[in-house]
């Protein structure tokens, strides 16, 4: 009889039920979309921030003071210490190896450059001093566990823009900064002669592209690391290493000095992708190095990420609250409309409890159906939002479905609880009289 009453109430007056369900589905759709987007958005934004470039810098311990302005080191090749290139695969063996997004070693060599004059008769034009930056471009690094990993400068410094082509690894090609190219009227295809200032080494490089970075590299030559090592006569060596790592924003715990932590605290810290923990792991793996956190990037990123996350959760929460209110209100409306029915049931001998359970069962059924429809609508909405704003599709999450169903049930029950309580106390006589 109970089931018959419930099914009858759905089949006899579908219009009214449809209205309540529509409100529910809409509210839950918004809740689903907001939840799925904010669950994914943190990671997405963290990756977005990696286009700011490296957040860790590795230099040799016991080095002389770098003569660095912007991103270029002006030290002569015979000053300071170097690091072995062969060790770099070990970066991908640290605890947080999957958070290492990219790395690129750099060797700057001061050079004298000259170019062949394009007009006949061919003559050598001296172009003066500049810097040759040796680095990796799409280099396959072999990792001690037997796999390989592809990385390079255009992954650590994604704002570097090359017109033409990048040089191939270990080829005699190079890209030339836009300011230098303008000054020397260089274009792709030209040949550039470079030599160390003491003329001990020299080579010819083919220009394959023009580089724009907005920094001092615009006035330099960028070629593969192997060429720079030949010029500097430092085979297998590099001067500094840029590492771009995905990290968790630092909180109060991360700022504690690891030396004062208890063993348990240290384990937690070590196993959290804080930038300081990753820095420590890198220096454990690459002996004889200092690993510096590029504070400007790391802290700026951390602050903004924390704030945006809080903000997004706040807005998600208010979306949830608003949909809860909308659903609650329509649930309340549907109960009030059925006063006469409730009066009739009571007149026929139903107790307040039975009436309450019956109505609650109907509302719950509504909640599950409406919540399910709302979830599927919400996934579509989240897709649209995700693609339009972030260019990614949030993966449908069963966890979100669970939350949405529980939420739908809770708020329909809460929304109808107050009118239901009133309804179950109705005196049938006045209602049936139409008062």
């Amino acid at each position: 009889m109970f089931l018959r009453l419930v099914t009858d109430s759905f089949t006899r007056r579908p219009r009214r039920k449809l209205l309540t369900m529509a409100a529910l589905a809409l509210g839950m759709a918004v809740a689903t979309a907001a939840l799925s987007v904010s669950l994914d958005v943190g990671d997405r934004l963290a990756q977005e921030f990696r286009s700011l470039g490296a957040n860790l810098l590795v230099t040799p311990q016991a080095d002389s003071l770098p003569l660095q302005i912007g991103g270029v080191d002006y030290r002569p090749a015979n000053a300071g210490a170097y690091l072995p290139e062969a060790d770099l695969g070990r970066l991908k063996t640290i605890f947080w190896r999957f958070n290492i997004m990219a790395f690129a070693p750099i060797l700057d060599v001061p050079v004298d450059a000259s170019a062949m004059s394009p007009q006949p008769p061919a003559s050598l034009l001296a172009l003066g001093k500049t810097t040759l930056i040796g680095t990796w471009y799409d280099r396959e690094v072999s990792i001690p566990d037997g796999t390989t990993y592809e990385t390079g400068i255009e992954k650590t410094n994604p704002w570097w823009h090359v017109e033409g082509n990048w040089f191939k690894d270990n080829s005699a090609d190079c890209v030339v900064g836009t300011a230098l190219a303008k000054r020397l009227a260089l274009k792709p295809g030209d040949v550039l002669n470079v030599s160390a200032p003491d003329k001990s080494t020299g080579m010819a490089l083919t220009v394959v592209g023009i580089l724009t970075t907005g920094g001092p590299e615009d006035d330099a030559i960028v070629a593969s690391l192997g060429r720079a090592q030949q010029l500097a006569n430092k085979p297998g060596m590099y001067r500094r290493l840029y590492v771009s790592a995905l990290t968790k924003p630092e909180d109060a715990f991360a700022r504690k000095d690891p030396k004062t932590m208890t063993p348990a605290e240290f384990d937690t810290w070590y196993c959290t992708p804080y930038i300081s923990a990753i820095a420590l792991q890198i220096s454990e793996e690459l002996k004889g190095t200092d690993v510096h956190v590029i504070r400007r990037i790391a802290e700026g990123e951390g602050n903004i990420l924390t704030r945006v996350r809080t903000l997004l959760w706040l807005v998600t929460f208010s979306a949830l609250l608003a949909s809860a209110l909308a659903v609650g209100a329509s649930a309340a409306a549907s109960v009030i409309e059925r006063r006469t029915e409730i009066g009739l049931m009571k007149a026929l001998g139903a107790g307040s409890g039975l009436v309450g359970v019956l109505l609650a069962a109907e509302q719950l059924l509504l909640a599950f159906v409406g919540g399910g429809i709302g979830y599927s609508l919400g996934i579509v909405l989240a897709r649209i939002l995700g693609e339009r704003i972030f260019g990614f599709t949030p993966t449908p999450n069963l966890f979100v479905l669970l939350i949405i169903l529980v939420l739908a049930a809770l708020i329909t029950l809460l929304g109808s609880a107050f009118p239901l309580r009133r309804a179950s106390r109705y005196d049938p006589a006045p209602i049936l009289r139409g008062e």
Binding site: P66, Q68, G128, L311
Partner: protein
């Protein structure tokens, strides 16, 4: 209208007849208005605050010589350019610092061993904004000394220098002395540099009145940053004004994504809130069947009945909107503090906007009352649905 006093009397009675109902509707409208104004205000404030947060990344605009010189050692600018930069952009202070880089040699006072280092002469307001980081040592009394200088933390370790020590600077036979007032840690290339007065670096480099470049930190949306750059390059045609690509591109992308997400969510929440208010109002309309039946029975035209309810809706919309929006603004100030650590500034434009939205929503929710026009008094009084 001859019946105006009567009209308002009925409206008053409609409002005051059932206080609990009035309270529920005002609560719904007020809550809606509060959410609207809080979110709108927070959204505007958050976008602005975000652009400020990005400034923690340091300078984002560079003014440099148009041609990098023919000798490869870099060209220089006239230092007078610094004075020609705007001090403000769209009401926000623009920190601008001129730099002259010299690769010279330094030694701690009292020691004879000189080592090469980058000496950066600086001048202009806002060095801490241009070069974010912290000062690990700082003696404020020395800061205004004419020979004061700062030293990067790596350089300080290398030369074993602390705040309060003196440094000898040397370049191609020219020498100078400076007093270290701070040790700075930025994690970047600045950690290896020595920051002196511009005049000190100029005399070391023998380039009086010249600078290498100017760095600026401009607060604003990507569009406003581009406006700033194009305005400046128009007013200073002799120099090269450009955004730092590393920051500008990322900032622009992240800003657009976050603000797009915020706007989308806020619009969705606003639609939901109005739906919620409408559901509440139509609830009330159904309860009104008897009133309408009676009014019609004693000769009220449909138009007049609808006008009555509209007047009621507008009145409630105004009251609910005024109270709710004010409350929402207060909430958003507090929320701004929770998210960004700085109380959100109330934007006064938000207040009328959210009151207007509330009134529109409350009129729209009187829409179901149109159904009442089809009510036949007789069936109502017979107790039929």
């Amino acid at each position: 209208m001859p019946t105006t006093p009567m009209f308002w009397r009925i409206v008053r009675r409609l409002l005051t007849a059932n206080y609990s109902r009035l309270f529920v509707i005002l609560l719904a409208l007020g809550a809606g208005a509060a959410v609207t104004s809080a979110l709108l205000n927070l959204q505007i404030d958050a976008k602005r605050r975000l652009t400020t947060e990005f400034r923690a990344l340091g300078a984002n605009v560079i003014v440099a010589p148009r041609d990098a010189g023919t000798d490869g050692n870099g060209a220089t600018l006239d230092e007078a350019v610094l004075g020609q930069l705007p001090a403000e952009h769209e009401g926000q202070f623009v920190p601008a610092v001129a730099f002259l880089y010299v690769i010279g040699e330094i030694a701690k006072a009292g020691e004879l061993h000189f080592e090469p280092a980058v000496i950066a002469g600086t001048q202009g307001p806002g060095i801490t904004e241009i070069r974010p980081g912290r000062r690990t040592e700082y003696i404020s009394s020395l800061e205004n000394d004419p020979d004061a200088c700062e030293i990067g933390t790596k350089a300080a370790t290398q030369f074993q220098v602390h705040a309060g020590n003196s440094l000898h600077l040397r370049n191609e036979g020219r020498t100078a002395t400076c007093k270290v007032f701070a040790v700075v840690a930025t994690g970047g290339a600045e950690d290896t540099q020595i920051f002196t007065r511009l005049a000190t670096a100029q005399s070391l480099a023998n380039l009086p009145g010249r600078i290498s470049l100017i760095q600026l930190s401009v607060t604003g949306t990507p569009d406003s940053l581009n406006r700033f750059i194009s305005q400046l390059s128009r007013s200073l045609p002799a120099v090269d004004v450009r955004g730092i690509k590393q920051l500008a591109e990322t900032e622009g992308r992240i800003y657009n994504r976050i603000s797009g997400l915020l706007s989308a969510t806020v619009i969705l929440v606003l639609i939901l809130t109005s739906l919620c208010v409408m559901a509440g109002m139509s609830n009330v309309a159904i309860e009104r069947k008897n009133d309408v039946g009676l009014m019609k029975a004693i000769g009220g035209s449909v138009r007049r009945v609808v006008r009555l309810f509209l007047a009621e809706a507008i009145l409630m919309g105004i009251v609910g909107g005024l109270l709710g929006s004010a409350f929402g603004l207060l909430v958003s100030i507090w929320l701004g503090k929770a998210v960004f650590g700085v109380a959100a500034q109330p934007r006064w434009i938000v207040y009328p906007v959210s009151v207007a939205i509330t009134v529109i929503v409350s009129i729209a929710s009187a829409f179901p009352l149109r159904r009442l026009a089809s009510i036949r008094p007789a069936s109502v009084f017979r107790g039929e649905a």
